[in-house]
Amino acid sequence: MGGDRVMNTRPDKDAVKNGKAKKTGVVAGLILLGVLLVALPPFMNPYGESMITQILIFSVFAMGLNIVVGYTGLFSMGHAAFFGVAGYTAGIMMVHYGIESFWIIAPASIVLATLFAALFGIISLRVSGLYFLFVTLALGELLHSVAWKWRSMTGGADGLTGIPYPSLGLPFIMNATHFYYLVLIIFVVCVGLLYRIVKSPFGSALQGIREDEHRMRHLGYNTWMYKYLAFIIAGFFSGISGMLFASFANVMAPEHLGVHTATLAVLMIILGSDRVFFGPIIGAAIVLFLQYYASTFAPERWPLILGAVFVLSVMFLRGGISAHLIKLWNKMGSHHASTKT
């Protein structure tokens, strides 16, 4: 209690200085991470490279979805549908129609995913709360069963196999390392876009809706439109992620459209923290590392491990791992500052 009081009356200048120091710390960290990500591939074995590629792909999915889940406070269990629509579209174009150009596949699959999001958003945003969660879940399962039944196109339960890397139209044949760099570039662009959105009046309004939608209407905001746009934006990023995932995994299966993948993305957000911009990246890394180790040592125990991690993190790491990392960082910072004065 006493601590709060001190915080409240702390002079303005210190707060600004602290904020600036924190900012430079974050920027320095980001640059270091960027250099690492660019320089690493030659020193990594294929597993490491593939792991990081996968983390980057799912980070785009989870961060995009966090616009809806964390920023707007709407629990969508249906955004795997748009991940899957883009993945299947890219896969079907390449496998069935022999179109391999990235410059055709990417826009086509992302636009289709976004259109699906625009349609599903109209349906699911008619309700709120738990009902919204179930409608999004049901719509996702609907597409799941379409993928299951439409064997000629999707390969049904066996999945759509043999999806290659897209071609960039450059004079080399894409390999795993090239694809890694493609994913890295797209990841950086997506993170940049999402950061702008989150810090904009629009992003601010989404958080206002999460806090008190009724008041937002009384400030002049058409809150339905914001929720709808957020839903579509998340669908757009889910689509980018799904399009990349198809080539990464070489296969799309019905489960990629449904509740299984949707849960995984939401878990990444909750584990990593839905209130911290970079949180879902950390969540994606943890979930995918766990999945990797579980699948090598005890594949049949994977759901058990995932469940246990989820329960433990909810019990002991409320607000997500990133939130606790930031607290720790701030503690170290303030300790450092207090020893100086």
Binding site: N8, G19, P201, A205, E211, D212, R215, R217
Partner: protein, 254 residues
């Protein structure tokens, strides 16, 4: 042109008539108060005017525009502002973010996705202008849930004034303010530009008689009387409601 015009406005919740056939109007620039005992329907009336509830029957006009069926956010765009009796802020956002949301709310910038929320011409100056007099500017980085209740009440009021509305509804604006802060609130409202119309409710008669040029009395959802503060104070019906005494005619007229 009238700022606000109610024609036979009623609101039912099932069989319960909370507002019965209310008609009155406010001239542009007028400061008026709605008073009445608890359960008179004051907050319901505000909810119907702001669009939080839809009217069961009757007609509602704002600056000559029929808004009976307009959604809340449209009414705000047409120049309405509202504060709440029970504080409704964005607790997990900072004071500054709260004010910036209120400032963007009535501008096209509210839909911008690629500009920083604070990087608009004059917006920080405007935020400082609103927060500084209430000693909240230095606390702008604090989350609203961490500030005192009194400060939250002040925020509640300036949030509704931030967009320079032409018609403001203030629901129990001074509830939760310290007694010595009430005069500064009264002068804040008095300092609003001359063509700002204000409709407020309050249990604090100092606020009502200090601000209102006209007082409207509701009793169990019914329109009882309207008039200048002096007329209302002298009105036998109003005295009966508030004091529970049936006075003789001669006495009331004296």
């Amino acid at each position: 042109m009238q700022a606000l015009k109610l024609e036979g406005l009623s609101k039912n919740f099932g069989g319960l008539e909370v507002l019965k056939d209310i008609s009155f109007s406010l001239e542009v620039g007028e400061h008026a108060a709605v008073i009445g005992p608890n359960g008179a329907g004051k907050t319901t009336l505000f909810n119907v005017i702001s669009g939080a509830l839809s009217a069961s029957s009757g007609k509602l006009e704002m600056f000559g525009r029929n808004i009976t069926n307009a959604s809340t956010h449209h009414r705000i765009q047409y120049g309405l502002g509202r504060s709440f009796q029970i504080t409704r802020l964005f607790p997990d956002l900072t004071i500054l973010d709260n004010i910036l949301l209120a400032l963007h709310g009535t501008k096209p910038s509210r839909y911008h996705m690629f500009h920083k929320v604070a990087a608009y011409d004059g917006i920080m100056e405007k935020a400082e202008q609103l927060l500084q007099p209430l000693d909240l500017w230095d606390l702008r980085g604090e989350k609203v849930k961490a500030i005192s209740y009194g400060d939250q009440r002040k925020m509640e009021i300036i949030m509704s004034l931030a967009s320079d509305p032409k018609l403001i509804l203030l629901d129990e604006p001074t509830a939760g303010l310290a007694i010595d802060e009430v005069p500064s609130f009264i002068s804040t409202v008095k300092a609003l530009s001359g063509n700002t119309t204000v409709l407020l409710t309050s249990h604090d008669m100092d606020v009502v008689f200090g601000l209102a040029e006209r007082v409207i009395v509701l009793y169990y959802g019914q329109f009882i009387a309207e008039g200048t503060p002096e007329e209302i104070q002298a009105n036998p019906k109003v005295r009966e409601i508030y004091l529970g005494i049936e006075e003789s005619e001669g006495h009331a007229e004296s």
